[in-house]
Amino acid sequence: MPIPQPFLDELQAVVIRALGAGATVSPSGPGRARVGPAAGGYSVLVPELVAIGGRLGALVATDRRGLGEGLLLEALILFDTAGALVEVSEPFPGPGATLRSITARVPAAHWQEREVAEMFGLELVLHPDAGRRLLHEHTPPGDHPLLRDRDAAQRLEFAAASPPAFRQVRGEGVHEIPVGPIHAGIIEPGHFRFFVLGERILHLDIRLGYQHKGTEKLFEGKPLGLGVHLAERISGDTTFGHALAYCQAVESLCKVSIPARAVWLRALALELERLANHVGDLGALCGDIGYAFGASHFSRLRGEFLNKSELVSGNRYLRGLCCLGGVRFDLEDAMARELERWLPRVRVDFEEVADIALEADSVAARFEGVGTLSPRAVRDLGIVGPAARASGVALDVRADFKCEPYRDLGFSPVLEPSGDVMSRARVRFREAQASLEMMVRLLASMPRGATRAPLSTPAPFAMGIGHVEGWRGEILTCAMAGPDGQLWRVRTRDPSVQNWLGLAQAVEMNLVSDFPLCNKSFNLSYSGSDL
């Protein structure tokens, strides 16, 4: 869908105000516009765009020194109500250059700015929470993994640990509780430092990076098709969402049009993944408060959804289903009929369990009023996904960007007003219901035909963008190919990146014993943030 002209005009006015008369906005694809690289293109223009309703999506830095340029920092700004995506960029001479932080005006940039600075060796100034947070404390100071001259195979030097830079909270009776990076239970590593007064959390500092695997680096130089497998492994619970975002990015680079049946099948798989995870989350929430009934029955239901995922793709986590140009396997008619028979059954089962669990007095007493996130915080921090919708902020890629097949099937986002754990649980419950409904409609309206289209050669150094509402929220993947037709740079922004700070915000002044519950209600991915 093209961007409406009045909106383009408004945009042009803002750009001229911020960057001077020479800067122009040019359409760069369906629903996309770009502003050419300019000094201040990031640090001056982005706050202006956010002020007129834009939302910071992803920061994509590229090392173009090999092309005779410097570093280029591109920012994707999303205009949800207009359904438009604007790319702006600012060049830097090279590592060591100064990156002026915009976090003070656009708090949503908090995490990604640090990421860019640490990975590309830019010097971040004016950031309220400077200090290295993402690279491991033993990484030597000059090592910036995403610079192209840094060899992926080169092993990490083990330098003396730099002292952890935590914000300090001091005062009479303030107590510090360090948790992690190794946790009880089988979960990913991350360090949480609580500053508590008695049982109440005054401040929570989150430090990640223990899971840094060099995923983005690994994409470089890989064939396009191989990237799908890498993308599937970005975050284990969002296999399909990430694969789909990557495929969309590459497909937009290659200007392929995907057969309708493949689009429908992808949506089916996306909803299936959402169902399994939302239902699993509901079970985990019940488990955290010791509510055995909910924990066991939601886990059982999650099993059902995983089994159906296996039926559809041969893998319980939907691995290998998505491929460039479409999907790898067609849905056989027998399978479709089985799904059609199964959907109403499982829906009754699920609703029955959820009715008991979410209406139970003792559950409500734990969920309501805990971990409240205000709509203001959601907008400021750029929170996405169910966490945003639970605070009454209508953000849903499926509805905002009118993507197929949701446009045709009448989709509207699920909203809950109060922003507490109960809201997030109810959003999950109702989204699961909506997904079941959507699956029925998808199956009923499934077009016939091919499931895969051939790819053409991608234009070098152009940016393809994949934009998917995964179960955890909006996934943004940018892909660029080199002149050899191989991947040159892939950048993925998992929803967790935006939401971790939301968690820190939501738990403030809550009881420390309620933290695991709040944490589970966001259920963020460590792996997705530590690329």
Binding site: D361, A364, A365, E368, G369
Partner: protein, 219 residues
């Protein structure tokens, strides 16, 4: 039924009524409170039936049946309905913390004992010890109504108070004349209806049922 068994049975039930009243104070969940109120209704119906068995007064069985239907079934269901219509959070904050409320409740029961003690000594009835627990229940309801500035909690307090008075009446007099009992039940139903309507209108007009925030009228 011999006198001793009878009096112990009535006493046990009346203490259970008091205990349930204390439990209503002890927790903040509205739905559970209403369920406890339903339990209270059943207990009261039981007391009436037991007294009926003992005295052989047939009208007490009617009273028991009506109590069962109205206090045990109708009013709780009605308030569940109202609660769902207003769509309140399950957990109603009270203006008083629970431990303080319970201290108040214990204190009020002590007062009830001291008010009731001379009467109980003068009373020729077997069930005289019940006086304190029934007045205690009524006082606890009263304290909920006065101290808690939330409309639904006030309504709970009102119903608890009615229950306490009912227990007082049935155990002190072995049943008022049926006509009067009917009248009292009628008033109770109308009162429940009126509160329901007021609550619904408050929920509709103000979006909350917090009496503390209704403060236009002063002086």
């Amino acid at each position: 039924m011999d006198t001793h068994t009878f009096s112990r049975l009535v006493e046990l039930t009346s203490y259970s009524v008091l205990l349930v009243a204390v439990a209503v104070v002890a927790q903040r969940n509205l739905a559970t409170s209403i369920r406890l109120l339903r339990l209270e209704g059943f207990l009261l119906a039981m007391v009436s039936a037991v007294i009926g068995l003992y005295t052989g007064e047939s009208h007490l069985f009617w009273v028991a049946a009506i109590t069962f239907v109205i206090k045990g079934l109708a009013i709780p269901s009605f308030f569940f309905h109202v609660m769902h219509r207003i769509g309140l959070p399950h957990d109603a904050e009270r203006s008083l913390t629970v431990p303080l409320g319970l201290m108040l409740a214990s204190g009020l029961t002590l007062v009830a004992y001291h008010v009731g003690r001379p009467l109980a000594l003068a009373s020729p009835w077997i069930t005289r010890d019940v006086l304190a627990s029934s007045l205690g229940t009524a006082f606890i309801g009263l304290s909920l109504m006065i101290v808690c500035r939330k409309a639904l909690t006030q309504m709970l307090g009102f119903l608890l108070m009615e229950d306490g008075i009912f227990l007082f009446g049935i155990t002190e007099t072995y049943g008022m004349p049926l006509l009067v009992e009917l009248g009292i039940f009628f008033d109770l139903i109308v009162a429940a209806g009126v509160t329901g309507i007021l609550l619904l209108r408050m929920g509709g007009d103000f979006g909350h049922v917090d009496v503390d925030r209704l403060s236009d009228l002063r002086g």
